[in-house]
Amino acid sequence: MSQDAAHHAPTSTGIDHKKLIMWLFLASDCMFFGTLISTHLLYRKLYPTGFTDAEGHQQFVQKLFNIELTSFSTFILLMSSFLMALAVSAMHKGQLKSFRRNVVGVIFFGLIFLGCQVYEFTHFYHQGLTIQNSVLGSTFYVLTGTHGTHVAIGILWLVMLYFYSFTGKLGGHVGALDVEVAGLYWHFVDIVWIIIFTAVYLVEYLGPSGIWGNGLPVLAK
């Protein structure tokens, strides 16, 4: 029996193989992002002041971050999850046109998020934060870059599903399952971003001088 035969013979638990293996992958991915986020937070605790720019000045991350832009891209990514839920629901009802409409929205919003990240990386680089000149640069770019790679793979996957839907082969129980599994992945990547947004960006603005006590009053920004 193979995965395509899942609908011929019921599984022991009643959960489809594909859905179960995606949950297992996501469990593993939790540990993956957990390790990356821990690395970042450990170094933030150790070196609260941030980084030294090209002119040799100490720079604080709050000066670097553009919290309005990141909040906007976070909101966009959240809304893409909403559209993904609609796409999955449409597929379960067999409404292929509605699925396509929603999935194009997900792809579009995902691209906006990636665009914001590209802008942010470029901007930070010109501000003097590079992967080589500080531990902060290494942890920040590798952590958010890994998340961006996850988003990009998700977009690639959804683009393929979108075009595949025109071949007439995406349908029925198996088609709905395939879309639902892609949806699980997409929602997970969004949830990880909520954690990254909180742990990497928002906590820097907690209290009068940031959670790491780096001495820069937030209001003086």
């Binding site: 991915d29 992967i131 531990v135 393929m160």
Partner: protein, 681 residues
């Protein structure tokens, strides 16, 4: 949904009409010989391939060990240089753990799990083939570093500018299997080419990418096995009726999917340090090398249980069979295995007692480490309870399994000594540690795996290994092993340091080092004899019955070798040790009304798993070549990623396919008549 699954049932796949996949390419279903092995999705063939490669790497790792012991036989020897010695012990450890023990365990997972749970295949047959080929290519990348090293020693690269620019020229990994930063990392400032100065040569880059690829293989296989065990059990096969080996596979797979991400991230960070000038572990830029130790051991300690739990599962199958009794305390054995899995994540810092964690963490990790001895001890007492009062039959697998208990206990006792942090501070980096983990990994794991090989070989090939050779080999292994590693306890306490290529005369270490070397060669001869016996058996051994040991679990109810559809009709079980109950008890195995002339569904074979995994071959060679400074090597990496994505894409688009295979009607063994016993003596 797919039209191609509805062929008329055939008696053999060679009778199938040529068939195109959704991509328009012919499916390699009708192949035989080499092409069949390269495209197979049959879990039994994949298991055999895993086992064959694992045995090959056991021999390579063994040769590396013998070179180490030859160098250390006498004081002040110059059999190998210090630099070569570093490469030898690094590759010995890496090979034995990642290319020997883990794949041999995976061979048993593959071959046994579907048979033991009454399934016809794993949940994702093509993903299973992908795991195999990713392992094969990752192992090749790691060992290709030796080819570069020999090329370097032979002077082939001398004329090249990139070779003259290298500071260090150890092409094989030379940083230990743990690869501690900053030795494995960088220091100082990165230059314009984004590269910071390093302490080791490109061997470390081979190690990083090789382990990364092997990690992908292990992760993919583990997702597959968890899915298979949870979702594809035969009717009546409840979780608490699963054979213990299958239970230990499940626990091991969970350990792999939760522990490997830590090493994956650590390797990514180290790779960014070495190749793109990042500062994760660069001390001159504020990086903390101790973070590498934490990340490595968060993976590395569960890894110890990833290595040992399958062997424990194997022993838990063998002891009941040859004691003629059910496993004593089955639920306790299962839960102890799960508790070991949980606690395995909470003891990693006992590898780091001497880094200065502070008194509270040190005390906490010492206590947790002592606690993990409890479920392990519980298992040992349950095994003793199993053979207590049994009608013991001595066979090669039984002898090896008893050796496992004895040797593993010795390793466990010195492990409890390590858990006391003050004592551990004295033992750190001495030969005492070497003695401890070889008693666990060789006396424990290798004996367990060898017992498994001799136990299931008649099922895999339908042929019985020669028992006399097996006894002699087992005796040599156990004798040579104790001669080699017993004295190391003393040598360690007498102060001989690990990872040091030689020692001077006059420290009182000469005699026992010589004894250890003699023991190592006896051990090497024993392992070689045991493997040679198996290889001979696979081709020429005498045929045996399908149930030569009076086995207890479902795989023994099948013909040997097992037909490609496994079960002609799906079994319905109503007891633990289903086949024993079927033969000697009252609860017979029933069979569902599937199969027969209507056929059973078989997955189609495919080239795509190997193609996708082939991308890793390019990535695996490209990354170290980038680190060597070979021009345009980055394009090899890019093309590797392209091949990987193309493989996955074609894999998705070709459609799963499948065909129906006719099976003969089942003729179950009548209850109360034990199967004819043709055990080896």
């Amino acid at each position: 949904m797919s039209h191609d699954a509805h062929h008329a049932p055939v008696a053999s796949k060679l009778e199938l009409a040529p068939e195109r996949s959704d991509l328009g390419l012919y499916r390699p279903d009708r192949t035989r010989g080499l092409l069949d092995w390269l495209t197979t999705v049959d879990h039994k063939k994949i298991g055999v391939l895993y086992g064959a490669f694992a045995m090959l790497y056991f021999l390579i790792g063994g040769l590396e060990a013998l070179a180490i012991r030859t160098q250390l036989a006498r004081p002040d020897q110059t059999f190998v240089t210090a630099r070569m010695y570093n490469q030898l012990f690094t590759m010995h450890g890496t090979t034995m753990i990642f290319l020997g023990v883990m794949p041999l365990s995976a061979a048993f997972f593959n071959f046994l799990v579907p048979l033991q749970i009454g399934a016809r295949d794993v949940a994702f047959p093509r993903l299973n083939a992908f795991s195999l080929w990713a392992f094969v290519f990752g192992a090749f990348v790691l060992n290709a570093s030796w080819l570069f090293e020999f090329g370097h020693l032979a002077g082939w690269f001398d004329g090249f500018a990139w070779h003259q620019a290298l500071t260090y020229t150890d092409f094989a990994p030379a940083n230990g299997w743990f690869s501690y930063a900053p030795l494995s990392g960088t220091f100082g400032q990165a230059n314009a080419a984004l590269q910071a100065p390093r302490f080791t040569g490109v061997g470390t880059d081979f190690w990083i990418i090789g382990i990364q690829i092997l990690g992908v293989a292990s992760l993919a296989a583990s997702f597959n096995f968890i899915c298979t065990i949870i979702n594809m059990r035969a009717k009546g096969m409840t979780m608490m009726r699963l054979p213990v080996f299958t239970w230990m596979t499940l626990v091991t797979s969970f350990l792999i999917i939760l522990a490997f991400p830590a090493i994956t991230v650590a390797l990514i960070e180290l790779m960014f340090d070495r190749q793109f000038g990042a500062n994760f572990f660069n001390p001159s830029a504020g990086g903390q090398p101790v973070l590498w130790q934490h990340l490595f051991w968060i993976f590395g300690h569960p890894e110890v249980y990833i290595l040992v739990l399958p062997a424990m599962g194997i022993v838990s199958e063998i002891l009941p069979t040859f004691s003629g009794k059910a496993l004593f305390g089955y639920p306790i054995i299962v839960f102890s295995g799960a508790v070991i899995g949980f606690l395995g994540f909470a003891v990693w810092s006992h590898h780091m007692f001497t880094t200065g964690l502070g008194p509270v963490p040190t005390a906490a990790f010492a206590l947790l480490t002592m606690a993990i001895a409890v479920p392990t001890g519980v298992k040992i007492f349950n095994w003793l309870g199993t053979i207590w009062g049994g009608r013991i039959r001595f066979t090669p697998p039984m002898v090896l399994a008893l050796g496992f208990i004895w040797m593993f206990m010795c390793g466990g006792f010195s492990g409890v000594m390590h858990s006391a942090a003050p004592a551990d501070s004295q033992q750190q980096d001495s030969y005492f540690v070497i003695a401890h983990f070889h008693y666990v990994l060789l006396g424990g794991v290798l004996l367990g795996l060898m017992a498994g090989l001799y136990f299931w070989f008649p099922k895999i090939f339908g042929r019985m290994p020669n028992a006399t050779v097996a006894y002699v080999a087992s005796g040599l292994v156990i004798l040579g092993f104790n001669l080699a590693f017993g004295p190391m306890h003393y040598l360690g306490l007498a102060g001989q340091p690990r990872r040091t290529h030689t020692y001077h005369a006059g420290n009182g270490w000469e005699d026992w080092n010589f004894v250890a070397t003699v023991g190592a060669f006896i051990l090497g001869i024993g392992v070689f004899m045991a493997f040679a016996n198996l290889v001979y058996t696979a081709f020429k051994g005498p045929k045996c019955s399908s149930d030569p040991w009076d086995g207890r679990t479902l795989e023994w109810s099948l013909p040997s070798p097992v037909p490609e559809y496994n079960f002609a009709q799906s079994p319905v079980v109503s007891a633990r040790d289903a086949f024993t109950e079927h033969k000697h008890g009252t609860k017979r195995i029933a069979y569902e009304a599937d199969g027969g002339e209507a056929g059973v569904h078989m997955p189609s074979q495919s080239w795509m798993p190997m193609l996708a995994a082939g991308g890793f071959l390019f990535i695996g060679f490209g990354m170290p070549m980038m680190a060597m400074g070979i021009p345009h090597a980055g394009w090899i990496v890019v093309s590797g990623v392209a091949v990987l994505f193309a493989g996955i894409w074609f894999w998705a688009l070709e459609g799963p396919g499948g065909y129906m295979l006719k099976t003969p009607a089942v003729s179950p063994t009548p209850a109360g008549t034990p199967a004819a016993s043709t055990s080896a003596h």
